[in-house]
């Protein structure tokens, strides 16, 4: 098994999603509020996982633009739920040591009076192991 395939399996395992169930209707992308910010669109995530192209996925902007709003998870007619795939890819990144998106010493820089502290705590939880 190649390294890439290994990662694709990992994503399927973490997300519990079978990307082959996708019928390519595009409802996920139709419903996504962060669509314009994304380089890889939600409906494309599925084929990246099917094609084992995980590096492209984990280095994409989309990974961190996804709001985890669950609109695509809620509305996917095929139970594929791209949001879960995106979340699993994110998990994959944060589980790799040193690849944390958010590091503890960066937090003071991010502090902003307007920003609720809860958000930082949850972001830290989400983006760091």
């Amino acid at each position: 098994m190649s390294h890439g395939a290994n990662k694709a399996e990992k994503i399927k395992e973490i997300s519990g999603v079978n990307p082959l169930r996708c019928m390519k209707c595009g409802k996920c992308s139709a419903t996504c509020p962060a669509f314009d910010e994304m380089d890889i669109k939600p409906h494309q995530f599925v084929s990246y996982v099917i094609n084992d192209d995980i590096e492209a996925l984990t280095s994409s902007k989309s990974l961190w633009k996804c709001l985890s709003c669950f609109a695509c998870i809620e509305r996917c007619p095929r139970d594929v739920k791209p949001g879960k795939l995106i979340d699993a890819a994110r998990q994959l990144v944060v589980r790799e040591k040193g690849a944390d998106y958010l590091k503890a010493d960066e937090i003071p820089e991010l502090l902003d009076e307007e920003l609720p502290q809860q958000l930082l705590v949850s972001a830290f939880r989400r983006y760091r192991r």
């Binding site: 169930r21 209707c25 139709a30 669509f35 669109k41 409906h43 007619p77 095929r78």
Partner: protein
């Protein structure tokens, strides 16, 4: 000991590719009781059957085992072959080494071993087989059709034209069904009413057809050829013989706020009503839940204005009991409820409608008199968006897993009709796939695109948001352009999934006809017996069996009629001899068997017995062979082991198990 012949079928490569057929023959030839054993490529063929005939004569065989496909497939074939060879047909057993073995195994060694074991079990059973003789039962030369839509009407007409009496039971006040609600029909765009109403009239006028509208099937008993059915004629509160259909009562009725079922709730009807102008019969019913007279005791206006004196508030439900030889189910469909699809704003905006509702909007007799207008403000729309696959092809617990089949075509029809009549209206269709298999179907869809300028976009709609100015904001995918698009629309039409009519579960239970997880009635064989229910004497017509358009429904309705006619044309039916039999010496009269029998086939009688010189009276079970369907429930329930199933006796089953465990 029987002299048994064993025939092992290759089924081309279906069996032979996975089971070492020669080895099975080699091992089975040595089994005790086996006087003959051979293999052949296709046992079901003429040549294969000839081998059975030949072996029976030459080797003086008394029992046959055929190792082949499922008995559902060819048990009958081989029983007939045995009969031609002079054996009792019930001396044949099938070892299913295809469905139960070769098709589900990959390893040849394992599959061969299993095939041998299955053959041994069948041999063990044949050893204990005894000749059985079928009885006869009569055929009532009358058919019942449940449902009065196009499927039921066509089936009834075809059966009646063959000379048999047919009754149609329809739960609504008029026959016509869904087709009567449609405006135009694809792919020829003829007016639905123009082609349906003549058929409705023909059915009503046919001397062999009796129509029970506003009626439901209450109870079914009996079996193929001899069903007894209770039909509940709900109280119409109007005398059908006196009513002239003048319509004055409906005009004068002061209770006019009930949502019209016929117009899908888009407008209202009176409490006394006929669903639509061409209703058959043209006799109204009083909706007692809406009627002021029934609710408060005051009013009675309809009675006052009725010149014919047809109004009868005291009418009660009437039960008609009738006998039938065959029953055809034609219960049709409804669209699914959209309560779980908030993203399409169906419950939020009157301008988001289902396609069936659009049929009523487009229809000259509909709530807008056929004018295309927004239902919220009556304004002429500038842009209409159609959304495909709403609730179809879903496995998310909100919708249906299947393709509803008709939506691609009716959406192309709607889009085309709108563009034709109102060239100023922009039409956009969001699709996942456009499925147009059917004669002249793809050409029809292409015409919508090429000649009528309908804008088809590959992608699903994610949400529909009603705006303060009354417009609808549609957010969708354009997958070919890899874009998310937002557009304003004045109306959104949802191609809503169809599902079997809600009444079908109750009817299927009464008929003991099986239904699938989607409540579609199951056919006996998906390819070879598509209009027959596995329950003998029950036939399927129309969408109750699976999604279909009108031409397919009419074709299937005819096919169901032919099957019913084939049954009614017989004077007598041979009954299955594999029925239960009670040993009166063992029976203790406990009634357990009668309590579990689903067919009411067991009764009790008192007999005189001489038990070791003591004369006494005993109450014992007696099975009515005409009613017994051989399900075996009683044999399991009987505490004293008195009840046994002929052809499947306890001894035979145990012998099979012993052979498998050897």
């Amino acid at each position: 000991m029987q002299r048994i012949g064993v025939f092992v079928c290759h089924c081309g490569s279906n069996i032979a590719a996975t089971v070492d057929v020669k080895k099975v023959v080699e091992i089975i030839s040595k089994e005790p009781g086996v006087a003959h054993c051979e293999d052949y490529q296709y046992m079901c063929s003429e040549a294969g059957q000839a081998k059975i005939l030949e072996a029976v004569k030459e080797k003086n065989l008394s029992g046959i085992v055929v190792c082949s496909c499922s008995p559902r497939m060819h048990e009958g074939t081989f029983r007939k072959a045995a009969e031609r060879a002079g054996l009792n047909p019930y001396m044949v057993e099938i070892a299913n080494i295809r469905e139960h073995c070769s098709w589900i195994h990959k390893d040849m060694e394992e599959a061969t071993e299993k095939a041998v074991i299955l053959a041994r079990a069948a041999i063990a059973k044949v050893n204990l087989n005894a000749p059985l003789f079928p009885g006869e039962s009569r055929v009532t030369k009358r058919a019942l059709v449940i449902g009065g839509g196009i499927a039921g009407i066509q089936t009834a007409l075809d059966i009646a034209d063959a000379g048999y009496e047919v009754d149609i039971v329809e739960k609504t006040p008029s026959i016509g069904g869904r087709m009567s609600q449609l405006d135009k029909t694809f792919p020829t765009l003829d007016c639905s009413a123009c082609i349906l109403t003549p058929k409705m009239v023909e059915a009503a006028a046919h001397e062999k057809i009796t129509i029970y509208t506003y009626s439901e099937v209450d109870k079914v008993s009996g079996f193929v050829g001899d069903f007894t059915v209770d039909i509940r004629k709900k109280a119409r509160s109007v005398d059908m013989d006196k009513c002239t259909g003048c319509g004055l009562c409906q005009e004068k009725c002061p209770s006019k706020k009930t949502p019209s079922e016929f117009n899908r709730g888009l407008n209202t009807r009176s409490a006394i009503y006929t669903p639509f102008a061409q209703a058959i019969p043209n006799v109204p019913v009083i909706d007692r839940d809406a009627c002021i007279k029934f609710k408060t005791g005051k009013c009675g206006l309809c009675e006052k204005v009725c010149q014919a004196g047809a109004i009868n508030y005291d009418q009660t439900d009437e039960i008609v009991t009738e006998k039938y030889g065959a029953i055809v189910v034609a219960t049709g469909f409804d669209t699914i409820k959209l309560d779980n699809y908030d993203e399409y704003a169906y419950n939020q905006s009157p301008d988001v409608i289902t396609s069936l509702e659009l049929e009523r909007v487009m229809n000259a007799a509909g709530p807008t008199k056929g004018h295309l207008e927004r239902l919220s403000d009556g304004k002429h729309p500038e842009h209409i968006v159609f959304v495909q696959c709403v609730g179809s092809r879903c496995n998310d617990n909100r919708g249906k897993s299947y393709c509803s089949k008709i939506c691609c075509m009716y959406t192309a029809k709607h889009a085309m009709l709108i563009r034709d009549k109102y060239p100023d209206v922009k039409v956009t269709v969001f699709y996942i796939d456009v499925r147009t298999p059917g004669k002249n179907f793809d050409e029809f869809y292409r015409r919508a695109v090429e000649e009528y300028g309908v804008n088809y976009i590959k992608g699903q709609v994610g949400k529909v948001a009603p705006q303060p100015d009354g417009k609808l904001l549609v957010q969708a995918s354009d997958l070919l352009d890899n874009k998310q698009i937002k557009m304003e629309a004045d109306m959104v039409v949802l191609a809503t999934a169809i599902e079997p009519s809600s009444s079908v579960r109750k009817i299927a239970t009464m008929l003991t006809a099986s239904i699938d997880t989607n409540n579609f009635l199951t056919e006996s064989h998906a390819k070879l017996r598509p209009v027959e229910s596995p329950t003998a004497g029950i036939f399927l017509s129309g969408v109750c069996q699976g999604p279909k358009d009108i031409p397919e429904t009419v074709a299937q309705a005819g096919a169901a009629a032919v099957k019913a006619i084939g049954l009614l044309a017989k004077d007598k039916l041979l009954t299955n001899p594999c029925t239960a039999k009670s040993d009166e010496l063992l029976c203790n009269g406990c009634s357990v068997c009668a309590n579990v029998c689903p067919y009411g086939a067991i009764s009790y009688e008192v007999i005189q017995v001489n038990d070791h010189g003591i004369r006494e009276e005993r109450r014992v079970a007696r099975v009515n062979n005409a009613l017994c369907q051989g399900c075996g429930a009683c044999t399991v329930a009987c505490p004293s082991g008195a009840m046994d199933l002929q052809g499947f006796s306890n001894r035979q089953i145990i012998a099979e198990v012993d052979a498998i465990c050897r």
